[in-house]
Amino acid sequence: MFDFLQGYDVLGAFWMTVKLTLLSAVGSLVWGTLLAAMRVSPVPLMRGFGTAYVNIVRNIPLTVIIVFTSLGLADIFGVTMGASDDFKAQGFRLALLGLVAYHAAFVCEAVRSGINTVPVGQAEAARAIGLNFSQSLRLVVLPQAFRAVIAPLANVLIALTKNTTVAAAIGVAEAASLMKQMIENEAQTIAVGAVFALGFVVLTLPTGLLLGRLGKRLAVKR
């Protein structure tokens, strides 16, 4: 029944999906946290930038962002991420850039909501003992904020895992691109689709369960 899988590197394609997911998860966590810090900072310019970035980027469809990185950034502006002669590496890096840029906006909002769960007294106490803004954010507020937003961040991570399929639009050889190839060759649309749907469930279901449990264990009891 599954003989149509023969001759295809399904695991390899999903490995590419995993690589895209993990790298862009790390990237968007870092960039998103920085954006959240900007949005709560006392500097109006930074607050303005953070707000504008989040509201613009999260409202652009991901496909548009990803295709723009290739057709716009690489082809027109020559931003090839150090791989102008290797389309495979170039596509991968550009997709990574697009995914990070997009999901950082969602990470930022999740982290900011976490910051709002930390009582104001905590920040005031941090100021009172002489910590400056970045110290109080780093040492007092963010550690408590992150423990509150593990579940929402897991949501973003699951969405990110599935959104990596958009990278097929610029030719990154991940799961969705192999799926297109198999549908083209095999004339078994539903069976092929089911295999790939199952693959994504296998990737995302444990993520959700694990992070959900972690979130409960680490939540700050108030």
Partner: protein, 277 residues
């Protein structure tokens, strides 16, 4: 009070949605029950082959063939209901009975023949390259080290990987339009897929005199008309219609009209049932 407003609003939305779906299914019933309409699957997004134009009409070689065949089956052009059948959707659309037959740059392959029957072929196409007017690419081995573009997962893209030029840089996009944009900006050296599709793009007014076909015959694609498996009667009728189209000169006229401006050297009209491997 506020809650009640929200409830009322969502109820209204729900009612609208229901009304809309009910409306949709009502239309479907009309067309299949009326009997005097025929549903044909084509591509909506391939210039020269099957393209939905801004005014809502359809143009292209597949559209001309489908119209002729439908005419032979006793349907006037205004009785044809065009349905979009994307590549991945074609077998299912036939099996579900959504369309009577499909004329959508549909290459006859062994895997597909297990699912559907094919009438024809009505056109023999080859994988080819679209290059800039002043390009020097003239044979397959020129391609190694060059930058190519094709559609993600398509047969043409796989051919490049596997046989034609494994060392070429292949960029894969989700549509040919993106590839053509890359060719225009110089980011890629050539776009590759069936010559008929390339000719259709190059023949568009906005690209006139910018591109040419390299004329390489990198593969054989036999375009057939897909129909429900086992419908021998319909297959015979469509085969006859294609034969008649080829013999009375309408076939040649349709080729010239849709592919002509791109310097496309078409193959002679294929014989029914003769598949070039």
């Amino acid at each position: 009070m506020k809650l009640r407003k929200v409830t009322a609003a969502s109820a209204a939305v729900l009612a609208l949605a229901l009304a809309a779906t009910a409306c949709g299914s009502g239309n479907d019933d009309d067309s299949s029950g009326g009997g005097k309409k025929i549903k044909i699957g084509i591509k909506f997004d391939q210039p020269g082959i099957g393209l939905k134009q801004p005014d809502g009409t359809f143009a292209g070689f597949d559209v001309d063939v489908a119209t002729y065949v439908a005419g032979q089956l006793g349907y006037k052009p205004d009785q044809i209901e065009w349905t979009e059948t994307k590549s991945a959707d074609r077998e299912n659309a036939i099996q579900r009975g959504d369309v009577k037959f499909i004329v959508a740059s549909y290459s006859i392959t062994d895997e597909r023949e297990q699912k559907v029957d094919f009438a024809g072929p009505y056109l023999l196409a080859h994988q080819d390259l679209l290059v800039k007017k002043d390009s020097t690419i003239s044979k397959g081995t020129d391609l190694n080290g060059k930058k190519l573009c094709s559609v993600t997962g398509s047969t043409s893209a796989q051919n490049v990987h596997d046989t034609i030029a494994p060392k070429a840089q292949l960029r894969e996009y989700s549509g040919y339009s993106e590839c053509i944009a890359g060719l225009q900006s110089g980011a890629v050296d050539a776009v590759t897929t069936d010559d008929s599709i390339l000719a259709g793009f190059a023949a568009q007014d906005k690209y006139k005199d910018q591109f040419k076909l390299a004329g390489l015959k990198l593969s054989n694609e036999n375009y057939g008309i897909g129909l429900k498996k086992g419908d021998a009667d319909l297959k015979k009728k469509i085969d006859d219609a294609i034969e008649k189209m080829e013999s009375d000169g309408s076939w040649k006229k349709a080729v010239d009209k849709n592919f002509g401006p791109a310097n496309y050297r078409n193959e002679p009209a294929p014989q029914i049932g003769h598949i070039v491997k």
